[in-house]
């Protein structure tokens, strides 16, 4: 059984009528509320010349199937480390990771993962990079090929299949990386500041693309970001982390209706969520006003 978080529920009495409409997939059925991904008591300490560095200190969280959970926090709060541990690519100094109740002991190969850098193979075309995942999974060639074309088209990359990474813009490369993470229809998508290096407009577009893909496929997403508005825009829940050593500061339910639009970002409801996170950062000294 998974450790239950001391969740700090948002209280929004004025918007109780909104709560009825949100998260139709997870609100009613209790079977879906069983945790899918469960991180329990994770700590990570790196040794260094200047003494041990505490990256994570007793972090726990759980995610239900189909949920979009974002983690925001300042640089160095260990959020990337958390994601790597969730992927089974790094081992925690203490604590456990379970998926559907079974412990994660090595790299999870059923997931899709997107890093801040696209990590494309320069010698492979757009299609070849997406198909790398299919080769690793030994998916049937023709079906995978068709699916790769569909995925690329769905993020506006139709016609770019035979281009090499150096012929693409930063935003296009990151889309390819996203398609590569999705071609095997993974139950979980792990994203480590995927849009952090992109310009604001490209970032908005990719947020919209990601929301569309997520609403169609409903994979469980763990999303790391620096951006408060990105986290609020995309997520069902946002976990705010404290500065190093990383701890869970607050868990916030984002009860905005879906699909979310860019205009919605300018509404008072949206601003209230952003404000709550901002206030936390100001209170913790992550941001300082002079």
């Amino acid at each position: 059984m998974c450790f239950q978080l001391p969740r700090l529920q948002r209280v929004l009495p004025a918007e109780s009528e909104m709560d009825a409409r949100v998260r139709p997939g997870t609100s009613a059925s209790s079977a879906d509320d069983r945790p899918y991904l469960c991180l329990h008591g994770l700590s990570k300490v790196y040794p260094s010349r200047d003494g041990p560095v505490r990256a994570l200190d007793q972090v726990s969280l759980s995610e239900t199937r189909g949920e979009f959970l974002s983690i925001v926090g300042p640089s160095g709060c260990g959020k990337s480390t958390l994601l790597m541990i969730a992927a089974g690519l790094r081992s925690p100094s203490s604590g456990t990771v379970t998926v559907d109740g079974s412990p994660v002991l090595g790299a999870r190969t059923d997931i899709g993962i997107v890093f801040q850098t696209p990590a494309l193979l320069e010698w492979r075309t757009t299609l070849g990079n997406v198909m790398l995942q299919a080769e690793a999974k030994r998916l049937p060639r023709t079906a995978a090929d068709r699916r790769a074309h569909e995925l690329l088209a769905s993020v506006g990359l139709a016609g770019f299949e035979s281009k090499y990474p150096h012929e693409l813009s930063g935003g296009m490369r990151q889309r390819v990386s996203l398609c590569r993470a999705l071609i095997h229809d993974p139950p979980q998508l792990l994203m480590d500041e995927p849009f952090g290096a992109l310009d604001a407009l490209t970032r908005d577009q990719l947020n919209l693309d990601l929301q569309k893909i997520w609403s169609e496929r409903r994979m469980t997403v763990l999303f790391i970001t620096h951006s408060i508005s990105e986290a609020v825009f995309l997520s069902d829940r946002v976990m705010v982390m404290s500065p190093r050593p990383g701890r869970v500061d607050r868990m916030i339910d984002i009860t905005l209706p879906r699909p979310r639009t860019l205009v919605m970002r300018e509404t008072p409801e949206f601003a209230r969520f952003s404000r709550e996170i901002l206030d936390l950062f100001l209170a913790r000294g992550v941001l300082r006003e002079h």
């Binding site: 690519l89 790299a107 850098t117 990590a119 193979l121 010698w123 012929e167 813009s169 296009m172």
Partner: protein, 292 residues
């Protein structure tokens, strides 16, 4: 009205964007053509100028032929000794190519072992580095004592000089890869072998070919050194003979033959590189890169 090569002036209000497009596009094509032409014409021009200056200078100053023969005499010597140059050139070519291949056959697996097995790297690297500090020319007589005056000592000297860049570049190329790509391979489920074949090795290819290109030029040096120290054939041997008989024109002819040989072998490695790394073919810039 549209004069290619010059900015469109004055009546620009009446020029449509389509016309500007064709104009700009044509400008670009012309500039690229001119640059490509310049890349060929300029070096040839410089060489011709030097040759003319050399010819005129040696004749005007009456420099004796055994010191510096004019290019025309060297050319005549090359014609007269064409078959000699070809026969000895072939001997040297075989030595270079065998030395180079031996460098690959031994250098790449050595680099692989250095990369895969840190204790081996720690024990072998100091030895490798000090072996490079040792002047190979000084080892040549020893190799002659051991292996006689035939092909083998020359191949070995070429190998000794040429293999080091291959080892270092291959080892460095295999080691230098973004951690993300390795993490990605693990999360995709690639095993160590598949990760190596599909990701690490192709990633290292540019570095490996960088080593091969240095190595092939060094192999030329090695083969000639071997022929200098003790041989009865090859362009190095021919140079020694020409030197001994004060035939400076033949000396120059041999030098030119060696240079041509070195350049051709280098180009062959470059061709192999462009076949192995197809993205070099596609590296022509695209104008619409940052459009999305």
């Amino acid at each position: 009205m549209i004069d290619a090569g010059k900015p469109m002036a004055r009546e620009s209000a009446s020029v449509s964007i389509e016309e500007i497009e064709t104009h700009v596009q044509r400008n670009l094509a012309q500039r690229e053509w001119r640059e490509r032409l310049a890349g060929i014409v300029y070096p040839i021009g410089v060489v011709l100028a030097v040759l003319v200056l050399w010819e005129v200078g040696t004749r005007a100053l009456a420099i004796p032929g055994f010191l510096l023969p004019p290019p025309s005499i060297i050319a005549r010597s090359m014609m007269a000794n064409a078959s000699l140059l070809l026969v000895h050139g072939w001997v040297t070519t075989v030595e270079i190519v065998l030395g180079f291949l031996l460098s690959i056959v031994i250098g790449v697996p050595l680099a692989l072992a250095i990369f895969l097995w840190p204790p081996f790297a720690r024990s072998i690297l100091p030895l490798l580095v000090s072996s490079q500090a040792m002047p190979k020319v000084a080892v040549a007589p020893l190799l002659l004592v051991w292996f006689g005056f035939g092909l083998l000592p020359k191949v070995l000297i070429a190998f000794l000089i040429a293999f080091f860049p291959i080892v270092i570049n291959t080892a460095v190329g295999l080691a230098s890869i973004e951690q993300e790509k390795i993490d990605l391979a693990r999360s995709m489920g690639f095993g160590p072998l598949a990760t190596f074949v599909k990701i690490r090795l192709p990633n290292a290819l540019p570095a490996i070919f960088g080593g091969l290109k240095i190595s092939i030029t060094l192999a030329v040096v090695g083969a000639v050194v071997g022929e200098f120290v003790g041989g009865d054939a090859g362009l190095g041997y021919l140079l020694m003979v020409a030197n001994g008989s004060m035939d400076t024109a033949l000396l120059f002819a041999g030098l030119i033959a060696l240079t041509v040989l070195g350049v051709v072998l280098y180009l062959l490695v470059e061709i192999a590189e462009s076949l192995a790394i197809p993205r070099h073919i596609h590296s022509g810039g695209s104008g619409a890169r940052e459009s999305m």
